[in-house]
Amino acid sequence: MNQFLPNALLIMDREYRVRVNSRAFVIGTVLLAVLLAAGMLAPAVIGAIARDDPDRVAIYSGAQLDQDPIQAIQGVFLGGAAGNVSVFGAPEAQIVGVDDLRQAEAQVARGELHGLLTIDRRSDGTLAFRYVSADDATDPTRLLIQQGASALTIADRLSAAGLDPGQQAGVFRPPSFEAIELGGDGSGSNIYEAGGVGVVVVAIGLIVLAFVAIVTYGSWIAQSVAEEKSSRVMELLVTAATPFQLLAGKVLGTSLAALTQFAVVIAAATAGYVASGPLVQILGGNASPIFSLPSLSVVDVGLFALFFITAFLLYAVLFAGVGSLVSRQEDLQQALTPVMWLAVAGYGVSWVATSSLDSEWVRIISQVPFFSPFIMPIRILVGNAAAWEVGLSLVLLLGGTFVALWLAARLYRAGVLSYGQRPGIRQLWHAAREHT
């Protein structure tokens, strides 16, 4: 163990440079950065494009009405966001009046008009609406038109009953309605109710980021170890450096390369997010950004980083240990499967947990090292984790990482030279104990 650092740093340095200079790394990083930046900008652009060309719905009124049907229905569309239809689904439409029914019908048939609403008054005095369009029964535009039709009908009936428009406004005034949410101490048990789209985006971002990083960069490490073994450099390396130096150097070098890629990609995504605000204004769309980030304290962000890095190291050393056990590249994927499943389990469980963050099993599982890095950050995010829970989880995770490091260094020593034979657990244990 004497002179641990120089060799570990040398190995780290080599690993980092080889990785970062590889064509796959450069292409992958650029591609990811472009994709993420584009993804951040896309909603603004799409929004602007969609706004330029709202659907046109024509109204042909063959009935005498107190209220202007065009204004009334356009009003339903403008207020629609607050109504029955969700924010994201609110359709936009420009309501126009037409005088030539035949021409309008032809335009609908040709797709030049989105739809055509005809209003007639039957002989018994009631209003009859007919809507022609390609919309199916669940189409939001059709639903809003229908809503408008009901409003018009009610207004018409009220007029017939003798209520003037001023009185009608009184009838339609919204009720005084106060909703009280129980258990509301600001924390949530569910990311979807905890604080809007921003929390959901950040929570999902944390889970996906951790998973992708662990699986992608973990595979890099395992592959790099297996490569050294199959090219037989390993035999030379183990005479020049200790297994621990090799393991540490490799994990750190790859982690730095991963961090480099992450930094570039996140910088691109942030730039895209920041630029999307002004872009929306330039393009003349909705002035508010696609979502607003929840306000996070420095402590929170620091904790996220701590969980992320520790978890990454935990998985990384396992990947390295497993990589050292295979003698041929072709066997690598198979050997990695158990570790991969561990990560997939953590990932999957955290998805289930996002909707029941205060249940007992989530509390327990967020203390388990392999799962905690996926779940605990989200509990911190929605604010339902007690300080002691966070602390304990972190301590357990760190402890688990050290155990994994100890184990992997021994696996490494036993595995690196066992060419050909596939060592069983007992042989590995034996070999591992041999070199204490």
């Binding site: 190995i11 080889v18 050294e228 030379l236 034979q421």
Partner: protein
């Protein structure tokens, strides 16, 4: 005062890879480690380098256990060549030199010197995978010596080398020896051993059959060779009738005779001359290492096809008289 391998054993599962092997190597000499494939040479070398730990026994260099010696004591040329295929030659050599703690500048000087010596300075900036097998081999050798190790352990260093590169490597061996290094190499090419080694060990199926100075090992055969050529071939037929003499090979150009220890080879010459036969060649020699090997192991080091036959025919570790070629 030397490299001492003391009763080491190593088993992998049911296989005894190395079984109670002991030998000693004098410092500043070249030592040959002979055995067929799978005899336990590589395992023994890995144990010397402390890559593997023996199940029993110990290894010391100048009195210190090999588990406690600094890593740069050793230089290692593994049998399976191992370099980073996509790394440039110089970068690779710098990397390994640095791992052993060699300063940048002295590493640089040594790299230039050796690339020049091996006649490959123009390959310095090339990737290793672009080099021929022979040149990769030379780079592998450099990776083993740049840190100026006391003991060089080399597993089959001459395999896959053409005659020119073999010559260059041999010269490098001699230079390392002259610098006071101890060299250990395994091989089954007896030619190199005859030329370079002062002492040898022969190992077979994990067991040491014999070790010591080449001359002593040859003498341990209990016989010497006489090569005798006469003007007429008829004049040799009676030779095997002499006491302690047997015919080893009857060739067109000369007869090769085994002479048991205790018999003066000159009696053959006297007897021949007494019969009035004219002698054109008379030579006394020790058996070749090839013969020594065959006799100890029961089969040729290179002739792997006969391995199974030989194994079936001989009890383990038994000394055997080889089937000599009689015409």
């Amino acid at each position: 005062m030397s490299l001492v391998v003391d009763s080491i054993s190593k088993r992998f599962g049911e296989i005894r890879a190395v079984d109670n092997v002991s030998f000693a190597i004098e410092p500043g000499r070249i030592f040959g480690f002979l055995g067929s494939n799978g005899a336990g040479k590589t395992t023994t070398m890995r144990m010397i380098l402390d890559i593997l730990r023996p199940d029993a026994g110990s290894i010391t260099w100048r009195g210190a256990s090999n588990t406690e010696l600094p890593r740069r004591t050793w230089g290692y040329l593994p049998e399976e060549r191992g370099l980073y295929p996509r790394m440039k030659v110089v970068e690779q050599l710098r990397f390994f030199a640095a791992l052993y703690g060699v300063g940048r500048r002295s590493a640089e000087t040594e790299i230039r010197y050796w690339l020049e010596r091996f006649r490959i300075p123009e390959y310095a900036e090339r990737k290793v995978e672009e080099l021929s097998k022979g040149n990769q081999q030379k780079i592998q050798f450099l990776a083993a010596i740049l840190h100026d190790p006391h003991v060089l352990v080399m597993d089959e260093p001459f395999s896959a080398l053409d005659p020119v590169n073999t010559r260059l490597l041999k010269e490098a061996f001699l230079e390392m020896r002259d610098r006071g290094k101890t060299l250990v190499f395994s091989t089954h090419q007896m030619e190199q051993v005859e030329e370079l080694c002062e002492a040898i060990a022969i190992i077979d199926r994990g067991r040491l059959l014999v070790s010591g100075a080449v001359r002593d090992v040859k003498r341990s055969m209990g016989r010497r060779l006489v090569r005798l050529a006469t003007e007429s071939q008829e004049g040799r037929a009676w030779l095997p009738d002499l006491p302690g003499v047997s015919l080893s090979q009857q060739r067109e150009d000369y007869a090769e005779l085994n002479v048991r220890d205790g018999i003066d080879p000159h009696t053959i010459l006297h007897a021949t001359l007494e019969r009035g036969v004219r002698v054109t060649r008379f030579e006394i020699a020790d058996p070749s290492l090839e013969e020594v090997f065959v006799e100890y192991v029961g089969r040729s080091a290179v002739d792997e096809t006969e391995t199974h036959l030989a194994r079936a025919a001989l009890p383990a570790g038994a000394r055997s008289v080889p089937e000599l070629d009689r015409r």
